[in-house]
Amino acid sequence: MQATKSFERAFLRQLLRVFRLSAVSYKSMSLQERKSAIKLSADVAMASARGSRKWTRGLIAKLSEEDEHRSFLRLILGTEYERLTKPCHGSWKIPRSKKIVRRSLRVCSRRKNNLRAPHGVKSSVLARTLVEKRTHALKRLVPGGESLDGYSLLDEALDYVISLRAQADLMQKLLTTFEASKLSALSKCTLPERKASFVGK
């Protein structure tokens, strides 16, 4: 599955815009500051490019936890910020009565347990705990994933992975381009006798 072209374009546009706004420079900032500033810009750009999804909202919420970031975010996102930070309703979930689901789960598990004769260690229980552990780990990784149930969690994780991959790829390509332009500029300055026949992107 590929991220859409519109997402890629929107991401790049936002990222460049954010760079200009945030005025990342090498003189005034240390590495750590620079790194966090760039990462913040990249995350904001990704979230705004993707639009309105569970994980984008979670991501922006996480980024807004610090006050300084919040003003930054508001500046970048503009009106979108209010829309994205609006508490999302649980209506996205499949409307199901918890009581019925719980009862059915209990019935199913009891049936399963009765089918397998009681061993020393119930393999089904073990398998389920493994899956549960990993589900919790995934919930912690995917922004905004704590409140999601199994299916939506996987759905959001899928979308998040696509966007992350596109984000990393695009940042890489951006880096290549900048390096290329820097190199050509550099060679023009310091090595005038050599031609910088260099094809940048």
């Binding site: 199913c108 899928l158 992975v161 500029a185």
Partner: protein, 439 residues
């Protein structure tokens, strides 16, 4: 479908209690009589058994006068008379419309096809069906072909005539059994151009041998269709598997599990190394991949990406500080002093690449490093992401010119960021691989 509904009871009643073969024989005999009356020869050579099933014959013969009446009409249109209650009558009237020898044969085949369908509906045995089909094929495919060819022509003209005709013909064909491939292909072809006439011929040529095989599925669909009262395609019910109740809770559970499985499959395509079958290891891979991607973004943000907004002043800085200084400034920022050796190596390689690629490569290999295109590096890093955990971040080296234009510090800095990653990774031997942009 009015005509079919009217036909079915008529034919079914006529066939009830009559043995199939003898009914067919009666049909043959009746046809032969008609043909003899017209001076046409009978394609079916078997003398047939008892002609003694009177009711059917009477029915057909009684309908003949009205059919005869239409003989005089050279009307090419396929107009089933409005008072004809049975398929046989309509069949003959339709057959008369063209007044050609071939159409007689086609009528017979249609009649046989109708018989066949009736047998299927009344639960006729398949051997009978096969016998009929054998007769059909025995009658000579060529005859059939020649018989069938003109029919689409007439139907085509009929279709262009008035509006009720196509529907009548359509209904007739549907009455004959849309489930049979014969009728179906005619139906589709009939209202096309006459130029498509050769096509139905071929279809029919292929259909009879295949119709024997197609009998049972046709019978089943027909049975279900007739059972459903002909209300469109048979509805598919979700059948529970063995040992599972059909109560709504387990159905909901099953649906939920299926959706989750579908999502897992989609994730499997995305995540590398995801050929695991069980859920827990799949989740493991997903988690590792997400962690890797997040780390990759972090590393990329550590590099000189922020210089986009300030390329010009940066270049000025670098020019003033000189190559290695600028390189080390950016590079060591990322390295945090832990990979000075690598930085030195990179500078060395850069210098060597200016002069001679070959020596640069040898130098690298001596260090256990290699040059590779960026695409390959990306592919490798994504492929080994799971294994290495943090993996390799493909770095960037601007390509050297064949004339030996050197990559210098800006590229080196990216390499250093990458080598930082490699240093942090706990694998030995998979050291930083320098990437060479393939452009």
């Amino acid at each position: 479908m009015q005509p079919s509904n009217r036909e079915m009871p008529g034919m079914a009643s006529s066939l009830n209690g009559i043995s199939h073969t003898s009914a067919a024989a009666a049909a043959h005999v009746a046809l032969r009589e008609l043909q003899n009356g017209h001076g046409l020869q009978a394609p079916f050579d078997h003398a047939g058994g008892g002609v003694g099933h009177d009711d059917f014959l009477d029915q057909m013969l009684s309908n003949l006068p009205s059919a005869w009446a239409e003989l005089g009409n050279p009307r090419p249109a396929w107009v089933p008379p409005s008072d004809a209650p049975t398929a046989g009558q309509r069949l003959f009237s339709a057959g008369r419309a063209g007044e050609s020898a071939e159409e007689m044969q086609y009528d017979e085949s249609l009649l046989l096809a109708n018989r066949l369908r009736q047998h299927q509906i009344s639960g006729g045995s398949s051997p009978t069906g096969e016998a009929l089909m054998l007769q059909l094929s025995r009658s000579g495919q060529q005859q059939m072909l020649s018989g069938l060819l003109p029919l689409p022509l007439t139907l085509g003209s009929a279709g262009s005539a008035d509006s009720p005709n196509p529907t009548g013909g359509d209904g007739l064909y549907n009455g004959f059994g849309g489930s049979l491939q014969l009728a179906e292909s005619v139906n589709q072809q009939s209202f096309h151009h006459p130029q498509s006439a050769p096509m139905p011929g071929q279809n029919f040529g292929a259909a009879p041998p295949a119709a024997g095989a197609g009998q049972t599925p046709a019978a089943s669909t027909l049975a279900s269709a007739s059972a459903g009262g002909g209300s469109g395609p048979p509805r598919q019910r979700v059948r529970a598997r063995r040992g599972q109740a059909t109560d709504p809770h387990s159905i909901a559970e099953r649906l939920r599990r299926e959706r989750i499985a579908e999502r897992m499959k989609a994730l499997q395509e995305l995540v590398p190394n995801a050929n695991k079958t069980d859920k827990a290891s799949m989740l493991d891979e997903i988690i590792d991949y997400v962690k890797f991607l997040q780390l990759q973004v972090k590393v990329l943000s550590m590099s000189r990406l922020g210089g986009a907004a300030a390329v010009a002043p940066l270049v000025a800085d670098m020019a003033s500080e000189g190559q290695s200084g600028a390189g080390r400034d950016g590079a060591n920022g990322g390295a945090a002093g832990s990979s000075d050796s690598l930085t030195v190596t990179e500078h060395q390689v850069a210098k060597m690449m200016e002069e001679d690629m070959g020596s640069a490569m040898q130098y690298l290999q001596g260090k256990g490093l290699c040059l590779m295109p960026i695409s390959l590096a990306s592919a490798i890093s994504s492929a080994t992401a799971g294994h290495l955990g943090h993996g390799l971040v493909p770095g960037v080296l601007p390509p050297p010119n064949p004339s030996g234009d050197a990559p210098s510090s800006p590229g080196v800095s990216a390499l250093t960021a990458q080598s930082t990653m490699a240093a942090e990774a706990t694998k030995d031997g998979v050291a930083a691989s320098k990437s060479l942009s393939s452009k």
